[in-house]
């Protein structure tokens, strides 16, 4: 169980997260939705300690991330896979080496096993045959899918996806959503997905949470969101210009 407890975070005096509380259940997929610029990526980076809260605690199975040293943090991070919003692929090595990177760093596999794993990972995201290309030669959506493959290659316990389907065409979005669902069924990881897409959230989420003005204003399953009385949630779900959210 991952818990963010009373998190406050400001950048240069601007409050981004304001007393944020949320918990992520084990072996479930939680989708966090919210408008652009609300602090979703910032929230996600708190979970792996890339950003430290100004106040509040990040708890991982009752371990406070702030109280452990770097070595323990690194051990803990081995349980995580993360898809960054812009992919964050290593641009000096090719796609094959990008996906193989976590394998080479943490497991002692034979070259044959590495090739087998990387190829099947690429195949899962619909990108067979591009392994010798460089990241700069790919489209944004292709990079995103490579990032998904890289994050999953070590079969982590927890996978964080920062907008895995943004920038993909509807068909590819569905492929990735299905990949997330099927691998989750198979590997039973804890999934935390950031998304703008309410449809995608309905499809993939066990639990949906909505971030608004630096705090979580609603959590629950898809049914609860569809029927929510909260006018902010209502407006977001229906995608309307009219409502309490001022543009």
């Amino acid at each position: 169980m991952i818990i963010l407890e009373n998190i406050d975070k400001s950048f240069k005096g601007v409050k981004v997260l304001d007393n944020l509380n949320i918990s992520f259940e084990d072996k479930k997929i939680t989708v966090v939705i919210g408008r652009s610029g609300e602090g979703k990526s910032v929230m996600l980076k708190h979970i792996v300690g890339l950003i430290k809260p100004d106040s509040g605690r990040v708890l991982f199975n009752d371990i406070d991330l702030n109280t452990i040293n770097k070595k323990e943090l690194n051990e803990l991070r081995k349980k995580f896979g993360m898809v960054f919003q812009d992919g964050a692929l290593f641009d000096s090595i090719n796609i094959f080496e990008n996906i193989a990177f976590p394998l080479r760093q943490h497991l002692k596999l034979s070259e044959g096993d590495i090739i087998k794993k990387v190829m099947s990972g690429l195949n899962d995201v619909g990108l067979s045959g591009i392994e010798s290309k460089m990241p700069s030669e790919l489209s944004g959506g292709m990079r995103k899918r490579v990032a998904v493959a890289r994050a999953m290659i070590l079969e982590p316990e927890i996978v964080l996806f920062d907008e895995p389907t943004t920038g993909l065409d509807p068909i590819m979005s569905d492929v990735i959503n299905n990949l997330i669902i099927s691998t989750q069924k198979h590997l039973k990881y804890t999934g935390i997905i950031i998304s703008h897409s309410i449809e995608g959230a309905y499809k993939t989420a066990d639990i949906i949470a909505m971030l608004y003005k630096g705090a979580i204003i609603e959590t629950g399953n898809a049914e609860k969101f569809k029927k929510s009385d909260n006018p902010v949630v209502k407006q977001f779900v229906t995608g309307s210009m009219v409502g309490p959210i001022v543009i």
Partner: protein, 259 residues
């Protein structure tokens, strides 16, 4: 009155900035050393960097050494001729090269060639979240990026420096014998007579220190990048300027200690 206060305020800010910078640099170096004990050295990257800093720089370093040696020979000829001590040109060239110009020029050239690329490479990785990605994959950036560069630079600089000095002396010899038409045997004999072994290894100690300085500062500056391509450009410039200043400063200190 106000502009005087402004002036002092600026100096104050600058001093605070310097202290702050020195503090972060110390923490950076400490983290690099810690990574050495925690994870040892990443051999693949070390090897790549040794090739990049060393092998790929041979040509430019040789060229620099050659011209400097030739110029030295020529310049000292004009002075030596007046007092009739042209036999001292050999030792002048050899000592200047091994003690001073070999290490310093090599360090400055490598700063320009490799320090700049260390800063911009790491800077780009920083702003495109590749460093974050490394950290989430539990790969320590100090171990993976910094230490291989620092150690490669530390190992390759003395080697490059020796090459630069050797070619420099050779260039000096060529000018001495063929352009100035003087007796080449004297050039060599006088070098043997006046140069001590300590001149060579003190020069090498300098090169090692310069190597550490340039790679440490250049990598450190890379991590400070923020805010897009302009940010990367800024830290790259800072890396080159700061490394050069520190190298010249260290050169003075080392010269006064070693010789």
């Amino acid at each position: 009155m106000n502009f005087i206060l402004d002036y002092f305020e600026k100096i104050g800010f600058y001093i605070l900035y310097l202290i702050n910078e020195l503090g972060s640099l110390t923490i950076y170096i400490w983290n690099c050393i810690l990574s050495l004990f925690r994870y040892s050295i990443n051999m693949d990257n070390l090897f790549d960097q040794m090739v990049f800093i060393g092998v790929d720089s041979f040509f430019i370093i040789g060229l620099t050494g050659l011209f400097v040696g030739m110029v030295l020979s020529l310049q000292s000829y004009y002075a030596a001729k007046i007092v009739g001590v042209t036999y001292m040109i050999g030792p002048t060239v050899a000592l200047s090269m091994t003690r001073e110009l070999g290490p310093v020029l090599t360090a400055l050239m490598i700063t320009a060639r490799c320090g700049s690329s260390m800063a911009s490479e790491i800077g780009t990785m920083k702003i495109s979240e590749q460093i974050d990605a490394l950290e989430v994959m539990s790969v320590d950036p100090y171990y993976f990026l910094s230490m291989p560069r620092i150690i490669a630079s530390m190992i390759m600089l003395p080697i490059l420096s020796i090459i630069s000095s050797l070619i420099g002396i050779l260039g000096g010899y060529v000018v001495y014998k063929f352009f100035l038409g003087l007796n080449g045997t004297v050039f060599v004999d006088m070098i043997y007579k006046y140069m001590k072994l300590s001149d060579i290894y003190n020069g090498l100690i300098k090169a090692v220190v310069f190597g550490i300085i340039l790679a440490t500062i250049s990598t450190y500056k890379g991590y400070e990048a923020s805010g897009g391509s302009k940010g990367v450009g800024r830290v790259t410039t800072q890396a080159v300027v700061l490394s050069s200043i520190y190298i010249l400063f260290a050169d003075y200190i080392l010269t006064s200690i070693l010789f």
